[in-house]
C-alpha cells in the first residue's frame, strides 16, 4: 500500500476537469510523430498508479513513445519485485517507492542516475539523493488521524489535534490503526510517533495509547471501511471507532465520491498527527529503453502531470508552481507542520522499530 493507494478517479468522469492538456485524441499506436522518440516505454508501478487518459495520450503524441503500465501489487511488493528483477527489469521507469522504502531501493542498485528536466522546480525538502540523482520525487501525502465529525458533534467533544491528545482519557477506546508490520499507513503512523517522541520516547507513548484502548487491525481497508464510524463503508458496516489512521486526502475523497456531493466533508483531519510520505520515481538500471524512460521521468515532473495527479491519486504535487485543484484544496489541505524522518534514519530503524512495536502492541 502506498500514499497513492487510497483514492482516485478520473476527474473527467466526474465532470471536474481541472487543467488538463487540451488534447482529446486517443493514442495513435506510438507513431513517431513527436520529438523523435519511438517504440514503447514501460512504467512499472504499484496498484495505486493512476493518470488521466488524455494526459497520457498527450505525452504519447508529443514524445512519440507509447506508454505501457505494469502494476505489480502493493507498494511494498512492487519495490521488492523490482529489486528481484533488476538485472532483467520488466520496464524502464519505476514509480512508487516512498521515503519509508527508499533506502532499500537505492542500496540494492535499483536505479541509474538521471536528473529529470524541471527538477529545479521541485520543492527542495523533497529532493533526496541529490548528489547522484538516482530518484526524482513525484508526489507527497500525509498519514494522519481522521475523525468522524458527527460523532464528536453528538458527544459535544472536541476532536483530538495532536499525538498527545490521542492518549488522553477523553479519547479512550476511540482510535483504530493498522498493523505497522503489514500496512503502509500503519507504518507511517508509527514513524510519526517515532519522529515526534524520539528513539527513547515512542515506546512509552505507545504504552499509553495501548492503555487508552487503541485497536489494531491488519489493513487500511479494515480500519477505514469496517471499524471507522465516519467513512461511507464504516457507516454501512456499523463501525464504532470515530478515529482512524488514514490520509489527509481521505476527507475530500468522501466528498468527491459521494452522490450527491455534500457541501462539507463528513470527516476531518487531526492536523498534529501527520507523517509526511514522499513518493519517488527513477530510471531502472538495465532499462531497455533508457531514452524513453528519461522522457517519461521528465513527464512525471512536468506541470501538466503534476496538476493532473492530485485528483487521480489523491496526493499532492511536489512542484512549486503546480496548482492544486480547488475542490482538493478545500477539503484536503496538506498538514502545516507534519512529522518527517530522513530516509537514511528510517532505513536503519524501520525493521527493529516494527519488531519492538509488534511485541509491545500486539502481544
Amino acid at each position: 500500500m502506498s500514499i497513492t493507494k487510497k483514492v482516485s478517479v478520473l476527474a473527467v468522469g466526474l465532470g471536474m476537469v481541472g487543467t488538463l492538456a487540451a488534447c482529446g485524441s486517443s493514442s495513435d499506436d506510438g507513431g513517431g510523430s513527436g520529438s523523435g522518440g519511438s517504440g514503447t516505454v514501460t512504467l512499472v508501478s504499484h496498484d495505486s498508479w493512476a493518470a488521466s487518459k488524455d494526459v497520457l495520450a498527450a505525452f504519447e503524441k508529443q514524445s512519440g513513445y507509447k506508454v505501457k503500465v505494469l502494476e505489480d501489487g502493493d507498494a511494498g511488493q512492487a519495490v521488492n519485485k523490482a529489486i528481484l528483477t533488476k538485472d532483467n527489469p520488466q520496464g524502464d521507469v519505476f514509480f512508487g517507492v516512498d521515503n519509508t522504502l527508499l533506502s532499500r531501493a537505492l542500496d540494492n542498485g535499483l536505479f541509474q542516475p538521471y536528473e529529470a528536466k524541471g527538477s529545479d522546480r521541485i520543492r527542495p525538502e523533497y529532493r533526496a539523493d541529490r548528489d547522484k540523482h538516482r530518484v526524482t520525487p513525484v508526489d507527497t501525502g500525509d498519514v494522519c488521524v481522521n475523525y468522524d465529525k458527527a460523532y464528536f458533534a453528538k458527544h459535544r467533544l472536541s476532536p483530538p489535534k495532536t499525538f498527545d491528545d490521542l492518549a488522553k482519557p477523553a479519547y479512550k477506546d476511540l482510535l483504530v490503526t493498522e498493523n505497522a508490520g503489514s500496512s503502509s499507513p500503519g507504518l507511517g503512523f508509527l514513524l510519526g510517533t517515532a519522529a515526534k517522541y524520539g528513539d527513547d520516547g515512542w515506546e512509552g507513548y505507545w504504552k499509553k495509547l495501548k492503555a487508552n484502548g487503541v485497536k489494531v487491525v491488519d489493513s487500511w481497508e479494515q480500519a477505514y471501511n469496517e471499524e471507522f464510524s465516519g467513512s461511507a463503508g464504516g457507516k454501512k458496516a456499523g463501525g464504532d471507532r470515530p478515529l482512524v489512521v488514514s490520509y489527509a486526502s481521505s476527507p475530500p475523497a468522501e466528498v468527491v465520491y459521494a452522490d450527491p456531493q455534500p457541501d462539507t466533508a463528513p470527516t476531518g483531519v487531526a492536523d498534529g498527527t501527520c507523517f509526511r510520505q514522499v513518493e519517488y520515481a527513477g530510471l531502472l538500471a538495465n532499462a531497455k529503453n533508457p531514452e524513453g524512460g528519461k522522457a517519461l521521468l521528465d513527464f512525471l515532473v512536468s506541470k501538466t502531470f503534476q496538476e493532473d495527479m492530485p485528483l487521480n491519486m489523491f496526493v499532492y504535487p511536489v512542484r512549486k508552481d503546480a496548482q492544486v485543484p480547488e475542490a482538493f484544496a478545500k477539503f484536503g489541505p496538506q498538514a502545516e507542520d507534519p512529522q518527517t524522518l530522513d530516509p537514511a534514519k528510517i532505513a536503519g530503524h524501520r525493521d527493529p522499530w516494527v519488531k519492538s512495536w509488534t511485541s509491545l502492541v500486539l502481544k
Binding site: 487518459k53 501489487g73 528481484l84 525493521d351
Partner: protein, 561 residues
Amino acid sequence: MSREGEQAVKAPVRRAGNVRGSAARLGLMAVPVAFFAVFFAYPVAAIVARGLKADGAWRLGRIGDVLAQSDVRHVLWFTTWQALASTALTLLVALPGAYVFARFEFPGKQVLRAVVTVPFVLPTVVVGTAFLALVGRGGLLDELWGLRLDTTVWAILLAHVFFNYAVVVRTVGGLWAQLDPRQEEAARMLGASRLRAWRQVTLPALAPAVAAAALMVFLFTFTSFGVVQILGGPTFSTLEVEIYRQTSQVFDLSTAAVLTLVQFAAVAAVLAVHAWTVRRRETALRLVDAGTTARRPRGAGQWALLAGVLGVIVVLLVLPLAVLVQRSLGASGFGYYRALTREDGGTFLVPPIEAIGNSLQYAVAATAIAVVIGGLAAAALTRRDAGRFVRGFDALLMLPLGVSAVTVGFGFLIALDEPPLDLRASWILVPLVQALVGVPFVVRTMLPVLRAVDGRLREAAAVLGASPWRVWREVDLPMVRRALLVAAGFAFAVSLGEFGATVFIARPDNPTLPVAVARLLGRPGDMNYGQAMALSTILMLVCAVALVVLERLRTDRSGEF
C-alpha cells in the same frame, strides 16, 4: 465378489497389456509433469534458492536459525491446530449436507448447490467483510445472544467452514449420489441395523471421497491467508501470512524461503499420509446414475435432517452473501451498478464492468488448461496397481495448494524471464497460474470415480481389441463425465476467484473481478465502496450462473449409463 476370482480374470491380460499400459501411462503423464516442472517446481525452486543462497553458497544454517525462533514455532503450531480443527468442523457441518444433496430430491436443489459454491470464488477481503456481519459487532449472533466472535479463533474456524462447505458437498456428495442405495438396503434386509449398514457398506465406499475432501479442506485451511488476517486480527498468524509478510513487506527472502520449505514439508507429510490411507481403502464400486438415487424425503426424521441442513446453509452461507447484496443496493436506482459502466480512468483504464469479460475469458482458459492437464494426470493415475513413482506423482499434483501465491508469483518473475519463456508480461500467465490451483481439484474429483470403475470392464474391452484410447473413451469417459463436469466447475470457480497470484499480473487495462473489487475497496468514499459491493455481487452471480449451467449440462446427459 471374490478377490481370487478377480485376480484370475486379470492375470492373463496383464502380461500382454502391461508394457503397452506403462508406455501409455508415461505418455499421459509427460504433459502434466512438464507443466508442473515449468510452471510450478522451477519458479518455486528459483525463489527459494534466491533466499537460501548467498554469493553462490547455500546457507542451510538459516533453516536452523529460523526454526529456533519461538515465534516461528508458535506460528507453526497455530497453523496446524487451526487447520485440523477447521477440517473436523467442516466435515461435521458439511457431511449431512453432502448426504442431503446426494440422496434427497427437493425444489431448488440445483440452484442451492451452486449457491453453496459461491463463497469459494469470493475474494477474502469481501468475504471477511460479509462474515463480520454474522459474527462481528451488531451481527446476527450479537443481536441474538450478545455473542461476538471476531478476533477470536472461532471466527476463523467458522469462516473456514463457510469457504469449504462446497468442497465436501461436491466431492463427497458427487460420489455418494452414485453409490447404489440397494447395497445398503440389502444389508438391512439381511438384518443389519441402520447404523451398521451405513458403517459397513456406505462408509467404506465413501471413505476415499471423504479423505479427499478432508485433504483439500486441510490444505486450504493450513494455507489460509485472508481469513486469518481479517477475522483473526493481527494477533493470529499462519505460515502463509508470515511468508507473505517476509516476502512482500520485510523482504527477508531467506526467512521466507525457510518458511516455504517448512510449509512444503508439512504439506508433503500430509499428502503422504493421505496417499497411504486412501490406497488401503480404495475399492472398485458399483456406480449408478445419480438421477436414480435421489428421492423426496420420507418420514419426520428425513424432513428434519433436510430442514437442519437448509438452516445451516441459510445462516452460515446465505446470510453473509445477502449482506453483500444488500450493501450493493445502497444507492438509489442501482447507482453503484450504473457507476460500474462509467469509464473511470483513475482506478482502471476501462469501465470496471469490463472486468467481468476479462474474468470470464481467463476462467475459461484456465478451466480448459486445468481439465486437460488434470484429466491426463487422473487418467494416468487411475490404475490401482500403479507403481510407487506414479503414486508419488499423485501427491505432487497437490503441492501447489500448499505453496503461497506470493511465492509462486515472485518465483514466476525471476524464473520465467528469458525467451522462449519470458511470460512475465503475457496474458497467458494469468490462466496458467489459475490452472495450477485448478488441476488438483480436477484430479481429486475425478480420481475416486475413475478408480471406482471396475478394472475388469477395461480389461474386457482391451481383450475385445479396443485401443487404450478407445477403452478410455468408451468405458471411463461415460462414467466420469459427471465427475469431469464437477471438476470443471471447481476449476472454473477457483479461477474466477483466484486473487493472490492474479493481482501480480493483471494489468490496469484488464483487471479481473477480484482484483477490481480489491482496488475499489482500497479507496475511500461511498461510490468506491458501493461499486466494490456491486462488483462482488456480480461475481457471485456470474459464478452461480456458470455453475447452474454446468449442472444443466450434466443432467441432460446423465441418462447415458
